[in-house]
Structures are given as C-alpha cells and as structure tokens.
Subunit: 424 residues, 2 copies
C-alpha cells in the first residue's frame, strides 16, 4: 500500500510500452474474467488505464498507451466492481484489493474526464439524478446523524492535515504559489470583503466548522457573530478557541440547526454548509435568510456545486459524506428566487479547491502513520481515496465551487463595482 | 405635456401638505369614480401618489403624504385603468390622458416598490407568470417580426440619444460620475477582459446592435469577429461603419438568426440579445454555443434579468419590446446546464443600467423636438414612459442586469482570479 503512495508522490506512471515488473504480456483473450473487466472499463468511459488481473491477464483500452496500471487482487473483487459499480470500486481500494501503480489523483481525473466524454456523447440528460440514488434525507434528526458521522470523528485527526487554521473548505490562493495557511486567510478576507463588513455589525453564520471564520471576522473586522452548527465536536472546539482568544462576548457559538436561526443581522454567511442541507430544504434556508437579513443586509453562500444536477459520487456519499449533495447553480437559485433575494456576484473557484485538496492530501500523507495509529490502515486508504478523488473531481470539472453574494431585492446599498475586492 | 417634463427635470414634487394650484380639497367620498380610483390605487400597492379626477376629487392613500400627483383627464381614462390595468395606464399616459406633477421616474419607482411590498406580503408565488401573460413567440419568423418592430424604426432616431457609441445596452461606470460615452467604452473593455481576448482569436457575436462591440473588439483586441443580427437597419448601419473604418476583412456582419450560427470560435459573446430569445429557446441557444466553442473557449452573455421568473411589464412588452422576456438566473441556467457549460462568473450591474437609462432619458429630452418631428407627440410620450419606467425598474430592483461568464465544463484554461479585470 505504501508503494502506491510513494509512486504517487513521485508522479511516475509506469512506462507504457514495456511490461513493468517483469510480468509477461497476456493479451486479453476470450477469458470470462477478461471480458468482465472490459465491461467495467467500458462503463468507466475507456480511461487510459491498464488493469492487471490476479492471473496476470492485462486489459486496457486500445485507443492510447496507458498512463497507469491498476491490479485486481482476486475474482471476488472483480465481481464487486461488476455488481456494485463505483461503490464497489471505492470499497475495493479501501480494502487493499485494488493496487495502483501511478498517481492516484491522475488516475481518478482520467476516469472522470473519460466518463464525462462518454456522457456528453450519449447526452447529459442521461446523467440526471434518479430517485434510487438520492442522498440520505436531511430532516432535523437526519442532518444531526449525517453531520455526526463525518465531523465528529475526532478534532485531533482533522488537525493533522487541515493546517493551523482548521478551515475545512476551499481556500483562495491570491497567487498560485501561496501556502495553504495564506490561502485560507485570504479566503476569509475575500469573503469578508464581499460582505463589506463594518465594525460592530451583526453577523449570522450558518455552519461554522471549527469556528475559524467567525473568530477571524470578530478579530479583524470588529463584528459580533452568532454562529450555528450541529456538530458537537466542532462546537466544543470552537468554544475553547473563543475562550482562549477572549472573544466569548463577541462570538457566540450556538449548538443548533440552521432551521432554528432567529434574530436579525447585517450579514449572513455560510461557508461549506450548503452541501449538507439537501436541495429539498433550499427554499426553507432562503426563508431563514430573508427573515434574518436587515433591509440593507448582505449575504454570502460558499458551496461545492455542479455544472448540472447530479448526485454526489455514490462512494463518497455512502462512506464519507452521508446526506451530502452538491447543487447546480440552477438548483441553488431555489434559495434566493422565492424570497426576492438578489444575486449580485457568483465566483467559481473550482481550481482553488483542487489546489486546497492537493495541500490537504500532501499533509495527510505526511501524517499517515499517526492517522493509522488513531484509526487503522483501511481508514487511511479510504481517506486517501476521498482526498485524491475530490482533488481529481475539481481538476476534471466534475465539481465546482460557487461563492454567491446576494442582498434583499429592494436594497440599493450595493457596491458600485467589485474593484474593492482587488484593491490594496 | 411639456409641463410634466419641465417639472420632472426640476425634481420638484408638489408640497404635500397644501392643495396645489389653488384647488379645493375634496375628500374621497362615496362617489363611484372615487371608489374605482381607490381600487386602482390599491392594486398598485398603495403608492404615495395622489390622483386627481377630472371633477377635482382627490384620492390618495392615507398612510403618508404624497410625493407626486397624477391627474386623470376623464371617466373613459379611469375605466381604462380599471379594465386594462398596466397596459391601460401606459396607453393613457401616451395619449396625454394622464398628466403628472412630479418626477416621472420617481413616481414609477414608487409604484414598483409598493407593488413589490404588496407582493411580498401576499407571497411571491402569486407573481409567477401565467400563461395568458406570455410574451409573443420567438420562432424564426416571430423573432424577425419582433426585432423589426423595435430596432428598425430608424437609426437616426436612436442616434439622437444613444450617444456616439450607438451602444443600446447597459454601460459600466467605473466611477459614478463617468460620462455615458466613457461608461459604454468601459463596458466593452470589461466584457473583453472577461473574455480574455488575444490577438487573432476568432469571436462569434450573437446580436450585434449597431456593431459597436464587434468593431471595438477588432480594433482594440485584434480579433476577427463574425457577428449575427436579424435587424435589417442595424446590419446596414454596422456594415457602413465597418467599411468606413476599413475593418470589413476583420469583422463580418451577417444578417441571420443566432440559431443558424455555424463555425468554431475562441470566444462567444452576446450583449443584450437574450432578452429577445424567449426562455423556450435557451436550451437551443446553449446548444449553438456548445457547438461553436473550442475546448478552451470562453463565453459571455449580458442580459436584463429578474430576481424571480415574471414576464416583462405588459405595457413594455405590448408597445415597445414585443416578444421580450427578462429571465431569472435560474431560467438562464437552462442555457448552460444541459451542455456542461461551466458558469465562472456572474456580475449584477443593475444600478449601472439605472444610470445608463438616466443618461439616455436626459439625452432623449434634449432631442424631444427632433423626435416629435420624426414621429409625433404620442411617440415622444411613449418613449419617455419607457425610458423613465425602465430606469425606475432598475432602481427599484424590479429588473437586474446579469453578465455571465462561462467556459466548456472540462476546460482548465481558466483565469486564476478575477484581479485582471481590475488591474491597470
């Protein structure tokens, strides 16, 4: 397993014209296993990946030399791929029944690009979500359970690779070579500038992670913040941070659901929560916002999204983010349009999320022994797949990152241009 | 009629606590006309406008002192307002049967704001478009007829008030005190920077007006342009301009519908055409764009829009812009999502359109005698109402102006940030 990562770090896919590691080339013949494997390859859009079966049999698309090689451990694994599709693929990798020669991120990006091409050829309509693949429901209790299963697995674990900001959302890299920490701080300032915060204004934050943005807004912009979150571990952590910084009177971390938010505010902000709201609740979220915002208020929602409606990757939704759903912009508009909230600015930061995930993945690999000690080897492989796969999804255009700025539809307290976001 | 405009220019609504022009105050009694007028006022959301009937009877909302006064010429006019609603109101103004004491733009803004408040109280859902209010269809022949009825009424007329750029779309004012000409040039540069044009790239423009942007792109950015338009007068005018500038080899003005666009391009741009496309054709427009754009291409659509789906003001659609429809962002996404076009940037320039219209209206009034000589007095009043009403609609948040930048969903040839739009 380590070999996979070492090769991955070195970015050295095997030379494609010579059989690596001295194995004989076995052309895909009429074997049943080979034909099953070909079917899997075809469903993945014929990526330039060579699959090597336990028997030594090698299956690859004829169109171009492979960029990487994947070894299938046994027949059971192959059948899992055939029957359980992408979920089977993810589980097989987590179980160590798929071994990868090459860069894991590059392999997944290749699969995403080939699948997209195949889908474009057959028409995107075929990719519309089916009811059977819907994410888990986000009722009040359902959301609590879904959030608990991801965010409450241990603050120590997250602190190993999120960096000192403990910000678990897309960073903003003013230049391509900024560090993760610089980019997370720049992201918070980008958000605050978009919200045009003034000292002593009241801010409501929905979904505050480990409290990073709320504390930043209070310290750097002098606002008061009421922030809501249903992850117990995060609430505890954020309250400790506020106490350590002497900010408990300026920042209130509230353990409650966004649906129960009350009070008025000058600015409403939500960074990285919408993915967990569920599209069936967008109209209700918009109602909460419309009720909270003062007539000259401003709002910002930052969320992973899609170019068209489609469910989250089923393995991610099943194993990593239960209940999560990245909306298309059209779906997101269901938050704003029923309440005459006016969209002022949308920015797509997709490539910034790819870079953020690259940084997280690198830090994760540096901490892999400590992660394995906290959990186990299977957990390490699951989270590697999730981080590398998410990076690949943003690189391939499979996922987007939308920052949407809005205001009550009748407010004329609007910025004249966006130049203030880029001035010194 | 002139009195109305002179008062309007002076921005001097009548003192609200004293009966103007020496008329006696007649309280709204039980007269049938008074009750009919009250009903009209209520349907307008109870704006702070006093209506004076031909009999001298005065009707106003009780809630606040009026900001302006409107005189109804006769009973026939009152019945028109009751029966034909907003269309009746517009026609009565055009016919001179409504006289206005006060600022016409301010009066219409007040009506928009009050209507919106009333709608918010009863729920925006009630404002969803009904089939009976749908705009005229935009088939190939229907579009030709609709466009002919607005854009072919005379290049001389438009040149009287659009300014030397002859740009008939929202300008971009880098500072609030920029002139119309400066702002129209800045708009074109803003669009070109968003498209990241490079010399000798190929651009396709859908709907080119009088050719201003196409010629600007060719001269200032060194690109070649193939531009499409179905207005005969505009095509003729634009070709003459291209010839005068010696740009006929670099800019081709094509008299054809956007649905017939063929060929590939690095950049696709459409400024102020989408309003005339009709939402039933958005998917098809997206298909044209997806077919034209090279894999690393960029696109921009600039259009009047709405915060929620609703038809254009019925008088404007009937008398000024047949077939026009300003979409909500959700509706606009039907252009992009079916074709995996990725939205990179949305900017709402609503207040810039209010300023643009203010400049156009001022220029129109300076040229009003020449307009009256070209057409007649009724035409002057119609167009004054259209310009003042549109300015008011943008000021009141009734209309939006969206600039949407997009690219093929799998292209990574994206700008890293938007700072290049604001640098020197």
């Amino acid at each position: 397993m380590d070999a996979m990562h070492r090769e991955s770090s070195a970015h050295s896919p095997p030379a494609s014209d010579a059989p690596p590691q001295g194995q004989p080339v076995v052309m895909a013949g009429p074997s049943v296993n080979g034909r099953l494997m070909r079917g899997v390859l075809r469903r993945l859009g014929d990526p330039r990946i060579e699959f090597v079966l336990w028997s030594g049999e090698r299956i690859a698309t004829a169109k171009e030399p492979p960029i990487a090689r994947v070894r299938i451990a046994d027949r059971r694994t192959l059948l899992e791929l055939c029957v359980r599709g992408q979920v089977g693929l993810g589980d097989a990798y987590a179980d160590g029944c798929l071994e990868v020669d090459g860069d894991l991120g590059q392999i997944i990006e290749e699969v995403y690009r080939c699948s997209a091409q195949a889908a474009a050829a057959t028409g995107l309509a075929a990719r519309r979500p089916s009811r059977s693949r819907r994410a888990r429901r986000n009722t009040l209790a359902g959301s609590r359970d879904n959030i608990h299963r991801h965010y409450d697995i241990g603050n120590e674990f997250y602190s190993l690779w999120l960096g000192e900001t403990m910000a678990y959302t897309c960073a903003y890299y003013p230049t391509r070579d900024a560090t993760l920490e610089e980019a997370q701080v720049a992201k918070m300032d980008h958000v605050c500038r978009k919200l045009r915060l003034s000292p002593s204004e009241a801010v409501i934050e929905a979904g505050f992670g480990w409290g990073t943005l709320a504390l930043h807004m209070a310290r750097r912009y002098g606002v008061t913040v009421r922030a809501f979150n249903i992850s117990e571990e995060q609430v505890r952590f954020a309250r400790e941070r506020a106490a350590a910084l002497g900010l408990t009177r300026q920042v209130e971390f509230i353990h409650d659901d966004y649906r129960n938010i009350s009070g008025r505010c000058d600015a409403f902000v939500s960074v990285g929560m919408l993915e967990h709201v569920g599209s069936e609740n967008y109209r209700r979220l918009g109602g909460v916002i419309a009720r909270c915002l003062k007539p000259d208020g401003r709002g910002l929602i930052h969320s992973i999204g899609r170019n068209w409606p489609a469910p989250l990757h089923p393995w991610i939704e099943r194993r990593i983010f239960p209940g999560a759903y990245p909306p298309s912009l059209k779906e997101m508009m269901e938050i704003f349009e029923p309440w005459d909230l006016s969209v002022l600015d949308v920015e797509n930061l997709r490539l910034h999320y790819a870079r953020t995930l690259e940084h997280w993945w690198q830090a994760f690999e540096r901490a892999r022994d400590r992660v394995a000690a906290l959990f186990d080897e299977r957990f390490v492989r699951m989270w590697r797949l999730y981080l590398a796969g998410s990076m690949a999804a943003f690189k391939a255009g499979e996922l987007q990152l939308f920052q949407v700025v809005f205001a009550p539809g009748r407010s004329n307290a609007l910025p004249w241009t966006r130049a203030h976001l880029y001035g010194s």
